[in-house]
Symmetry: C2
Subunit: 609 residues, 2 copies
């Protein structure tokens, strides 16, 4: 364990020193340098110099903190004590010359003393290690609560000057975290709020909350927050509502249930109302709001007795109490099995996270899609026709295209494809065909095809005199439908990432795209497609029929398999898919041949029509 700073974070000389340490260590593992160290409360090992211990020990608990930053890790540790959250293990990885946060998360996922993992991370050094750690944690039903800093331009600039680690593409990291059901937070308080709620180990797939308050106003605020968090508030059953009405005519009995300030005069109302609610078995959690009344000495004993009655009626669900009370009283409520939050909004946000965890844990590891037979990518930048052939071999539905080397051949092809047709200049050197007028849509007659052929050739000649021209592509014109984009983006840390979005302005202006690590199966692809904001456009608006989402998902999954197999030489095939789902265009970029200015040959790569 190396606490000292002045290594990789301090420039070239420090980097060399750090490398010397790594080399000298051989098979010995290293934590640090520039690390705040580690502690394990259970084994009573305190290998850290954090000043937080000067103000007190961590509370007992089953939560681990794995932090790249020592100071912010220590801040979370200290904030945990203030929020009454117990921490058992703390690891600060610092410069990560050897041990990384990813490895620490994986270790905590396997450790029986830890149920919940909080992590602070600036950069990811080893993608596969992070993925296997997150996979382990999900399989063990252990929440990972992640503070991935540097999500903004400002923040990632600050991160760059803080550690050597590259912040990485935040959208990619976000996709990875989402894939494994990691709860991403923006600060220590939020992380600890969620960790506290998770200490009961209740992760509902169907996240339903019963709300019992003494304030109608709080009930509304809680409802607002619940809707935003996707937490459901099912109504209390009619018979139970009737019985509550008999107990207190002016109570609100739907859910949120408001037993009004009358519950302070007649304490059994709280218990009786609560029992009616939990016995309905409609709620995976109960949020009970008593505000300052829960901190008034003359009220607390009777309130505790009533709360215990409720909990005894259904001990297996999650109970959260929102009160403003002294630490002493809070401790008493905790003893009774209630988690306590000052602010009801924070409690609802924590309950919302439990539901997202419940869904991720229940879904588990999706099966992998079937692989592809081995295949070779072309040796040179392929033209559109060739790119489509490659994709077609990977099982992707492409439009029927004809490569034509003369106007007559183009007319023949159009006759086969059926009018109207699309005509495009075919060249591996012209990536942005529309910009030079290299695409003609709705070409409706043989005469127009002939004119179109000459037009495209002369435009290509004029705009790109040095480009290799492989002829003109004549294609069936796909009618109607919605234009989509599917692509592959190669991430240096996590490998090929599939991208899906609606075409045109949706991608460019509204950034309505979703990323997913490759490969993935059809039902995962469907989840990806369904998570775009503009989904309604695919499901049909203004009386248009819904597109074939399954065909789209099938294609996206196959593209992900192709990308995963093709490895780093594949970059950015862009595909637009109308409602039957066809690739109407395709660009295959081959990283290592991209620099090559001239092609070696002028012969077209596929048999011309």
């Amino acid at each position: 364990m190396i606490f000292s700073a002045g290594f990789a974070e301090a420039g070239t000389e420090g980097e060399l020193l750090q490398q010397q340490i790594v080399d000298s260590a051989g098979s010995m593992r290293i934590l640090g340098p520039n690390s705040l160290g580690v502690f394990n409360a259970k084994s009573n090992f305190w290998g850290t110099f954090t000043a937080t211990l000067e103000t007190g020990w961590p509370l007992p608990g089953r939560i681990g903190i794995a932090s790249q930053s020592g100071a912010y890790g220590a801040h979370m540790l200290c904030a945990a004590r203030e929020q009454r959250v117990g921490i058992s293990v703390f690891v600060a990885t610092g410069n990560e010359a050897d041990i990384t946060v990813a490895e620490a998360i994986g270790w905590m996922a396997k450790n029986d003393e830890i149920d919940i993992i909080i992590s602070y991370m600036e950069g990811v050094r080893d993608g596969p290690k992070l993925i296997s750690a997150l996979r382990l944690a999900r399989a063990a039903r252990k929440p990972v609560i992640m503070l991935k800093a540097g999500r903004s331009a400002l923040g990632s600039q600050a991160a760059k000057s803080h550690t050597a680690a590259l912040a990485g593409d935040d959208a990619v990291i976000d996709a990875i975290l989402r894939e494994f059901g990691v709860i991403r937070v923006s600060g220590a308080q939020e992380a600890l709020d969620i960790a506290k709620a998770a200490t009961r180990g209740i992760y509902p797939e169907n996240n339903t909350m019963g709300v019992l308050t003494v304030s109608g106003g709080a009930g509304i605020i809680i409802s607002d927050e619940a809707e935003q968090q996707g937490v459901l508030l099912p109504e209390v059953p009619a018979d139970a509502r009737a019985r509550m009405h008999d107990m207190l005519a002016y109570a609100s009995t739907r859910n949120p249930v408001d037993c009004t300030a009358q519950a302070l005069n007649e304490s059994s109302l709280t218990g009786n109302f609560g029992i009616e609610m939990v016995q309905s078995d409609r709620y995976s959690s109960m949020l009970i709001f008593f505000s300052h009344a829960g901190g008034v000495a003359s009220i607390v004993p009777a309130l505790r007795a009533q709360l215990r009655r409720i909990r005894e009626a259904r001990p297996e669900i999650l109970y959260i109490l929102s009160v403003l009370a002294s630490d002493d009283f809070v401790g008493q409520y905790e003893e009774d099995g209630f988690l306590v939050y000052d602010d009801p909004g924070r409690a609802v946000r924590a309950i919302g996270a439990l539901g997202r965890l419940g869904k991720a844990f229940a879904a588990g590891e999706p099966s992998l899609p079937p692989g592809l037979p081995a295949f070779a990518l072309p040796q040179e930048i392929p033209n559109e026709a060739m790119s489509k052939l490659v994709l077609a071999k990977a099982g992707i539905n492409v439009t029927q295209d004809y490569v034509c080397l003369s106007a007559e051949k183009a007319q023949e092809a159009a006759g086969q494809a059926g009018y109207p047709v699309v005509m495009k200049i075919l060249s591996p050197d012209i990536l942005h065909k529309t910009e030079i007028g290299g695409v003609l849509l709705n070409v409706g007659s043989a005469e127009a095809v002939a004119r179109g052929y000459e037009l495209l050739m002369s435009r290509a000649q004029k705009s790109a005199p040095d480009a290799r021209i492989d002829g003109v592509l004549v294609s069936q014109q796909v009618k109607g439908g919605v234009e989509c984009i599917m692509g592959i983006q190669h991430d240096p840390i996590f490998g090929p990432m599939a991208l899906f979005g609606l075409g045109g302005i949706h991608v460019e202006v509204f950034k309505d795209v979703v990323l997913r690590r490759c490969p993935f199966n059809v039902s995962e692809a469907l989840k990806v497609i369904k998570s775009i904001r503009g989904l309604a456009l695919l499901e049909g608006v203004r009386g248009s029929s819904p597109v074939d989402l399954n065909a789209l998902a099938e294609m996206l999954s196959r593209l992900s398999v192709f990308a995963a197999n093709a490895g780093p030489r594949l970059n950015n095939p862009v595909i637009a898919t109308p409602d039957g789902a066809w690739a109407v265009d395709a660009v295959l970029e081959l990283d290592d041949v991209l620099e090559k200015e001239e092609a070696d040959t002028n012969t077209p790569m596929v048999e011309p029509f």
Copy 2:
């Protein structure tokens, strides 16, 4: 002051009782019934039965709370003490038989003992009163921090069962709050965080923050949050950076400035670094993060001395300290002029709100646009041509249209307008023309116009045999540009609200629309237009030229004047405007004639061409 419940909130009988009270009161003002009362700490008047006072008095301060809900108001009051925020006046309006929250806000805006207003509101009973209260508060540079509950479907349902007040259209209320620079929050904690930051009375128009930390990690998290909140982090000037570098070579000096844990060993670093930062005069606020170190007894005295040095160098800016410390230590920092927050993210969100307030206070009351001469709306539902005439009289730029009663007249009109033209069936009874095929675009020849005329007539005959047909409208075809929507929505509480958005899916699928109370001037209209998410489409994407935003703003402002003058009889004129900004369609709905199934006359309302 009536504390008792059982009035309007308890059903019809209660409503009658409440009305009797109002009637008996005559000119005497009433607070309540169903109110928790009022207190004024300065005059030592405690007319409330809140149990919060059992656990202690409010801290001294210059903040007023005006709450419709008694229990939630009391919750805020109690939370204020826990967050060390002082409250001077508290009003709970309950059923609002007479005094409303709006009136209480207006009173606080005028009261010299109150600088900051926190309000909880479920429904707005009196729109104009709320508006004049918010106007007063803005003119007095007093922040209004509003918890408007019921923003979700769930929440507004809960609100309905809580008080008699209708929640109202949340989008409308949101627009009103935005108009007056009200800070809308979702819970007590957020409200109090912002109120605390506001106690220094510093509302920067140009919201710039200097960040000094002992944790690079915290610096990144603060940067992430700052970017989201629109808080700027200008760099420290080069000469000051050089001097800081000389003091500590491995410090980060850009901003966030990280003086590292070395500042704990060498306390003068904190002061020297901080002084360099504030003397640059680049920051309206300083956020200093010391986490748990700021709570360590052996560190606090030296740290305080250094913090005081920084503040003395520039006492006029806002100082916020983020530390985890005991109440005693926090009190000492407060005495030194530092506001203290546990969580740096919460501090940044509060600083962000100060900047939004600064902009609103500086902008002040926008001038009113010039009015319109008195005009009468048509007596019956007007057809499109008539609607456009009405709008044209209000100064709104409409397309040149020709009402044609025969195919020959249509051909003549098309010749005048210039080919291609648009042809539409003209009927006040057919609101959705496209759905019955009643619109023909790009009609390119005299022959096509004649065929078009017959086609439109036969379609109208077939789809709407009972509709009054006023002929066919021939219009110039506006080319290119971007389709927009301008409309007027009549709100029962706030009157006519103008709506602006991009046409088609942007409104229907993405709800990308903005509302603004009518009337408003051109520069306000421009702000409205610039606040849509899809603004980039108007500014030009993919090489298309930007549209004429000023013409659009001019039109929107004129529409708002028209709507304000036309009063409640105007409803929902929908206008699409391409890049020169023309109304290409118009629907004027007249509420009180909408029910009328048949028109009295079959003669067209404007002179046919």
